[in-house]
């Protein structure tokens, strides 16, 4: 399927800081791309460049085939964008604000009314529709920004931290909403909440100091974790200590670490060691609470690729 968002070799420098460094990627219909990265990594800057709000030093962006630099109006027509901080006109009510957006998007009369009602329902704004945005809580303000981006049911959605400032229930609602819409749209969301990537993204990209340092499905990224395919054993301290030496002697075991909940066995060469460990435990007549294979943790990968000193020889 043809990519709806095509980003090619974007670079942007602010003074001495290389904010975006040769970023290229594509997003097709049906994909939800998660932009991950520490604060200041260049996520928002990249989004601003994609939307044509910032001029890149070099590189191009195409949205549904339109170059944002040459045909900004056409390129933006079918895109919903929620900028960083979900800005909106605070003296207006959500209803008035969405009415303004509907007008800009070319809707009038009953169609505008329907669109506003639809967006307000999707983002659960019904109860505050006629209160000044100024008086709303952070969560509602964020949802007003989200409603604005969804109003015209665009093919492309670019959302800068859509769940920031929401409580856990609201986060869940917004994630479900993104999942529902995902099938027929190309979506980019930025976040620094890692669980969000597992929950909604079909692909994740980790950006650090302006560069893409990892790009793949959440599973692929997790498999880069040091803990991937390792086995964790949950047991008491004594049991663990009895096991350590035997485990180290097992074939296919690279390392054994004691941790607060038990111990963690790191395999060497990707071999399947869980059965060997089960047998060992049974032979020794020990009781353990749980033995299971770890999927790897996105958090570890994130730390590995974004903290310079922890990178080692890289991924």
């Amino acid at each position: 399927m043809a990519a709806m968002i095509e980003v090619n070799g974007l670079c942007k420098r602010f003074g001495t800081i290389q904010a975006v460094d040769n970023v290229s990627f594509q997003v097709a219909r049906g994909e939800v791309l998660g932009f991950l990265g520490p604060n200041g990594a260049g996520k928002s800057t990249t989004m601003k460049i994609i939307m044509g709000f910032l001029e890149p030093d070099s590189g191009t962006t195409r949205l549904e085939g339109f170059y944002i630099q040459n045909q900004p109006i056409a390129a933006r027509r079918n895109v919903g964008y929620m900028p960083e901080g979900a800005p909106s006109y605070h003296e207006m009510t959500p209803h008035g604000f969405l009415g303004f957006i509907a007008g800009i998007r070319g809707f009038s009369g009953s169609e505008a009314k329907d669109r506003i009602a639809m967006a307000a329902t999707q983002t659960q704004l019904g109860s505050v529709l006629y209160q000044p945005i100024d008086t709303l809580s952070r969560g509602f303000k964020r949802r007003v920004g989200l409603a604005q981006a969804l109003l015209h049911d665009p093919d492309i959605l670019i959302l800068d931290e859509p769940t920031d400032g929401l409580d856990p229930n609201q986060k869940h609602e917004v994630r479900s909403l993104i999942q529902e819409m995902a099938a027929d749209k190309a979506i980019i969301i930025s976040t620094h909440i890692l669980e969000e990537v597992d929950a909604v993204c079909t692909r994740a990209m980790i950006i650090s100091r302006g560069r893409i340092v990892a790009n793949g499905t959440p599973d692929e990224l997790e498999s880069r974790s040091k803990r991937h395919m390792g086995v964790s054993v949950t047991a008491t301290r004594e049991t663990c200590q009895q096991l350590v030496d035997d485990l180290n002697a097992l074939d296919g075991v690279a390392d054994v670490e004691l941790d607060s909940r038990g111990l963690f066995v790191k395999p060497s060469g990707g071999s399947d060691i869980i059965d060997l460990i089960r047998i060992l435990v049974r032979q020794r007549g020990l009781s353990v609470a749980d033995i299971r294979i770890e999927r790897g943790r996105l958090e570890d990968v994130f730390r590995d690729v974004t903290i310079p000193s922890a990178t080692g020889d890289g991924l």
Binding site: K48, M51, G52, F53, L54, P72, I73, A74, R76, R77, Y81, P83, E84, G85, P87, S88, Y89, H90, E91, M92, G96, F100, I101, G103, I104, R105, P132, G145, Q148
Partner: protein, 244 residues
Amino acid sequence: MNLTWILFRREFLSYFATPVAYVFIVFFLGLLGAMTFFMGSFFERGQADLAPFFAFHTWLYLLLIPAISMRLWSDERKTGTIELLLTLPVSATQAVIAKFLAAWAFAAIAVALTFPFWITVNYLGEPDNGVIVAGYIGSLVMVGAYLSIGSCLSSASKNQVIAFVLAVLVSLLFTVSGTPLVLELVSSWAPTQVIDVIAGLSFIANFDAISKGVLDLVNLIYFLSVMALFLFINVILVNLLKAR
């Protein structure tokens, strides 16, 4: 055009969303009334015209119009809504023009609310209403010129106070450039052509010409050119500074 209208409407209504608009109008009318009656000797002159009324417009606008225009762009930049606005399918030029027209329409309402002065002179005597109409037209285009300066400089800073001060300073230059004070300062060294140009740039001189009832195209074109120039710079500044 339709988009400009939608942007205009939002901007125009935003003036009335807070008490600022009403406070401004009351302040404007009160001050203008006080100046006309006490400093302009409206009654004592014994003439049925609005000359003392129009005489103070320039000075009042110099201080009050930047107060209307200061928030136009600096507020958008400060709150980040500029990113929302300029990533919608609208151009910076449309946004600049729509905002300017909204401010102009608001100022026009304030000016229109001075109609009791007109009624008063017509009640007291038989003024030349043609001259008064010319005066109002001149006043409105001058407001537009002040607003274009204010709108332009509002995009130069995120801080409304700085935007206000800059607008007053630049407006002051345009206001006083034709006064004897300035002309004497340059006449000692500048050639006469330069002096003529500087004198011709004065808001006061151009407005005086119109408000005396001589609705000369030159004066109107002058004010319209000032608007075009500053709105043009405004678009450039918005594009240049929007993301800072």
